[in-house]
Symmetry: C2
Subunit: 260 residues, 2 copies
DNA sequence: ACAATCGAACAAAAAAATTGTATCATATAA
DNA sequence: TTATATGATACAATTTTTTTGTTCGATTGT
């Protein structure tokens, strides 16, 4: 086992159980205390958990959204499956908007080989990944909306992106979302985000939500739009069947990706 | 000598002399032919030179601007010195615009420890570096202008950044430039860039050009502005003394950084 | 106070990268 | 075309970097 794998596992467990002790790590991975401490200190520096005496705890205050990097670890394989499935909805020549998010980020991997795409995003991570992965092989036009960068999020907010989205029209918008519920519709953690997401929905011909199964039945802080404001939802097969059923009855297509 | 240093030296020499043979490399660095070949192949893959039978040649069609990555290698130590010197002009609380460029990129390193900065840029590299290096320690507000990303340049052009710069006003703008000449003033390689640079100059209270000594006396393709449109020029001590003298006579302050 | 935990420093071990040599394939020039 | 130089692959040797463990004095929480 490589050290990076161990780090990932540790973060996953801390996120799952809320805490993990030095002793736990020693036992589970057969390493010395010093190594366990070094691991936790490194992960703490990366902001992925909070170091405490004797171990580490998750660093999420309940009502706060975890940082982008932390969220990347949650349900990663599911997000990858969703991203690839969502990418299948994109055809050569499409103009697509990719919302900020760890799930939308995975869509990029599925764009290899597609021709003549226009991609609009306000997410620095997505932009960087597109440049790294695509701009060499594929002929892709990449547009960044600009805006004020939120340091932990690497997304841009404020009047600039709103203004840009207002003037642009895309074939398809892929929207990440904090919660999907029958009662409260689509909800997000931050008010700033809701505004951008609304603009996105407005300026896209086809509106597609990407969200892993854990988002279903969740209501987070700020309301974005009713369920029926979007055309499709791409999720994985861990999404609760009854909720999916109800959503379909409301006329929203739900696409399930196979996650390992 | 580390392999990276050797690579840098090789690129520098190829850029300087236009070509370099396998034998040259073996002799100069006391390495085997195999190593020399591996070096050239690696650098070719990175697009920094063009591999030919028996050696390598520079891969610049004379009238074209080399790619961002290639330019990073040219006069790197001088650019670092200039960047640090230029950063001394920035005070706590300033709002600064950082133009696209390999020299402006080096300003970021000098911003450590400064408080309450607002940085505006349309360069993806600069944005990424600011996020990596500063956003943790420093309290910096980072604004990206947005725009269409030019894949090789990682800069943004088009109506979006122009519009954004139009609405923003900064204390100081640091402008990279392709050529500085007494007859033709400030010139650039691409027309697209000139427009943005003009906007930058217009929206800044203090206009500062950063350019290494090799840019002096050069005229590139497109005219940006007359020399007197800017307040200061930060360069290194390799800048030709007579030209510097003449520029100073025109009322533009020239600051010389000590390069190794 | 006192046992557990921590971090610094050093040494050991493992992993990764760099480099060289030998060998055979390929390209260039006469 | 042949002869010679150059190239590429594979493997081994080397160096460098990363990771890990141990010891020991300092610090922490109960």
């Amino acid at each position: 086992m490589k050290s990076v794998e161990r780090h990932n596992k540790i973060v996953e467990i801390v996120l799952e159980n809320g805490r993990m002790s030095i002793a736990d790590i020693c036992k589970m991975f057969q390493v010395s205390e010093m190594t366990a401490r070094r691991d936790l200190n490194a992960l703490d520096r990366q902001g992925l958990l909070r170091r405490i005496h004797g171990g580490a705890i998750a660093n999420l205050g309940r009502s706060y959204e975890p940082s982008f990097q932390t969220r990347t670890f949650k349900n990663q394989s599911k997000k990858m499956a969703i991203g690839l499935k969502a990418a299948e909805l994109i055809y050569d020549g499409d103009s697509v908007a990719l919302d900020v998010g760890t799930t939308t980020l995975e869509i990029v991997a599925g764009l290899r080989g597609k021709r003549n795409l226009t991609i609009i995003t306000s997410c620095l991570q997505i932009a960087t990944r597109v440049v790294d992965q695509l701009s060499l092989d594929t002929d892709v036009r990449l547009v960044l909306t600009g805006g004020i960068i939120r340091p932990r999020e690497l997304s841009m907010i404020g009047p600039i992106p709103e203004h840009v989205y207002q003037d642009l029209h895309v074939d398809k918008a892929f929207i990440g979302i904090g919660g999907i519920s029958l009662e409260d519709g689509l909800t997000e953690y931050n008010i700033e985000d809701t505004q951008i997401k609304r603009m996105l929905i407005r300026s896209a011909h086809e509106k597609i939500v990407v969200a892993d199964g854990s988002k279903f039945g969740m209501t987070t802080f700020a309301s974005v739009a009713p369920l029926t404001a979007v055309d499709k939802i791409v999720t994985d097969n861990s999404a609760p069947a009854e909720i999916v059923e109800q959503i379909r009855k409301q006329g929203v297509e739900v696409i399930l990706a196979d996650a390992d």
